[in-house]
């Protein structure tokens, strides 16, 4: 009976006066409950941030660059169209604030230090001079113009003693290049019989073909000195597009009124010519350098004036992703007729002439370098690990302005810009005339400095080559 009672009392599962020692509860192999996170579909800020994180995860895990670009520009909303060639007043200040760019006047120091030797007319006198240390040249070559020419003149003396890299032909002859430039100019403006240009088509009539001819002949003749040019690809009238977010705004009208949205921008640019190369140009300054301040503009971009439109969010450098020449070297921009110097002088807006060149340089180069970075898989959540450098020449046929851009950061939207100390840097010169006037088969007042700067731009290459 006692055994029966004991058995009845001893319910299954209960250990009563048993010998076995209760062991410590073993940690479960997997957690019993799913992790407590915010909902995905709720109308709350936590849910919105979780949806954003899921989207970022999706883009990070995309297999190919094309898939990343497709997801990045999938959602279409009204965005500001930024035109690089614009009549808006003080546009370069606004563009610098949109792209977080610092503008440094003059050409970067590496343009003087790393210049390969170019034979000038008076080169023989410099051979006897003691070679100047390369480190001194950056300190002197801050301002463009005469100092640059002096540095150019000294660099041959310094660089002649160390021989140029193997496989590259020695010094290009400036006289030959000058005759090439003058030939192109005279052919287009003097020798060829052209009818009068149609209204507002002056730029397509003479300066356009002259620029194409000049660049193609110079690039062809300098490809012997610069192997990068020999492997490059020259595009005629390509398309460059870039889409990005910067800052936040509250939606004013419509069914989405009151919501906080990122401010979206799109650049659609058509440079006159473009040179793309298979290897990246070397960095000018380290990634984290701080060379100035970015202007902060509190007003809405529509006060510039800038207008919103909704269409495809395109990111394009000129070719598709699979092209081997996926890095940029130099762009050439031709200013249209409505932005001619004479029109600005007639309206008494002389200070806006330089603004036009600067805004064109900054906007186009930002779009090109950022699109190149996106082609390598970087985007605003995955910031660039190495700087992307490109060059541009903005001209209206006679006056040339040179720009060099270093992209240090792509993270420009509201969350990623908070802890991002990096800034993009643009070096730019003022516009200088290449020649004074063309008369009777002669080019009067040819400016060698401008041609020299152009040649140095084309000869720019990474150090390994």
């Amino acid at each position: 009976m006692a055994a029966l009672g004991a058995r009845r009392l001893l319910r299954p599962g209960r250990r009563w006066f048993s010998d076995t020692v209760p062991s410590a509860p073993s940690p479960p192999a997997s957690p019993l409950y799913p992790p407590v996170v915010a909902s995905i579909t709720a109308k709350s800020k936590a849910a919105k941030s979780r949806r954003l994180q899921r989207f970022n995860q999706r883009v990070h895990e995309a297999a190919t660059v094309e898939e990343k670009l497709r997801l990045y520009g999938k959602l279409q909303r009204p965005k500001y169209t930024v035109y690089p060639q614009t009549f808006a007043l003080n546009a370069d200040r606004w563009y610098r604030s949109f792209t977080k760019t610092v503008l440094v006047p003059g050409m970067p120091p590496r343009a003087a230090a790393a210049k390969p030797p170019v034979a000038t007319a008076g080169a023989t006198s410099e051979t006897g001079r003691a070679p100047e240390p390369r480190a001194e040249a950056p300190g002197h070559a801050e301002a463009a113009g005469e100092v640059e020419v002096a540095a150019n003149a000294e660099a041959p003396g310094a660089a002649k003693t160390p021989e140029p890299s193997a496989g590259v032909a020695p010094c290009p002859d400036i006289g030959e290049l000058r005759s090439l430039a003058c030939d192109a100019l005279l052919q287009e403006s003097f020798y060829q019989n052209k009818k009068r240009p149609f209204l507002y088509r002056d730029q397509d009539h003479t300066p356009g073909p002259f620029l194409t001819q000049l660049v193609s002949t110079l690039a062809a003749s300098l490809s012997g000195h610069n192997p990068l040019l020999a492997a490059s690809s020259l595009d005629l009238n390509p398309e460059v597009n870039y889409y990005w977010h910067h800052g936040n705004e509250v939606v004013v009208h419509g069914h989405r009124k009151g919501r906080v949205d990122p401010v979206r921008f799109q650049i659609d640019d058509n440079p006159h010519l473009q040179i793309r190369v298979p290897k990246q140009l070397p960095e000018v300054v380290p990634l984290e350098s701080d060379l100035g301040d970015v202007p902060v503009i509190d007003h809405k971009p529509s006060k510039l004036p800038l207008f919103k439109k909704q269409y495809e969010n395109k990111v394009f450098i000129g070719t598709k992703v699979a092209d081997p020449c996926c890095y940029g070297h130099t762009q050439f921009h031709l200013l249209p007729d409505r932005l001619k110097r004479e029109r600005f002088i007639k309206e008494r807006l002389e200070d806006q002439i330089e603004v036009v060149y600067r805004s064109n340089g900054i906007a186009s180069l930002f779009a090109w370098t950022a699109a190149q970075a996106m082609y390598q898989g970087f985007w605003n959540e995955a910031d660039v690990t190495r700087p992307f450098v490109s060059q541009a020449v903005v001209t209206d046929g006679k006056y040339f302005a040179f720009f060099c851009y270093q992209l240090n950061t792509l993270a420009l939207n509201a969350e990623t810009i908070k802890n991002n100390p990096r800034k993009n840097i643009c070096w730019g010169t003022d516009s200088k005339p290449l020649y004074d006037v063309v008369e009777d088969g002669n080019v009067k007042g040819f400016n060698d400095e401008v041609l020299l700067q152009l040649v140095h731009f084309l000869l720019n290459r990474p150090k390994e080559l």
């Binding site: 007043l89 509190d298 007003h299 809405k300 006060k303 004036p305 008494r348 807006l349 806006q352």
Partner: protein
Amino acid sequence: YPLFQRGGPQLRIFRPNFFMVAVRPGVPQPEDTVQFRVSMEMTKLDIRNYLERIYNVPVAAVRTRIQYGANNKRNHRNQRVKKPDYKVAYVQLGQGQTFQFPNLFPEKEQDTETRSFDDYRDKYMEKEKQKEEGDPRRGGVPDWFGL
């Protein structure tokens, strides 16, 4: 004004009947932008010439738009009452000049007499309100309720 035809004389207006009203912008504008309400017949060229010739103000750029006045309000006869349309001009000043719309109603400096009078008045109003409310210890129950 007479329509211009080729070969005709340039239209010159010596004492225009237009007037422009500088207004405070509803949304913040950049420093070099002034907002005007102008006559509906004025063009951008007219505005530029008006400011430059009569007032010697350097004008860099002019942008205009027409504001539609609403037609929703109804009067006592249920007829729709239209608010008039007007043209707004945004003028960007040249030569780096800036403009900030002034504060037309600044706070006036109060002397001690008015300040003490204001304090006395506020205290009196507070006492009156408390009298009206009644005893706070009764918890909102009116005075006439009781035994």
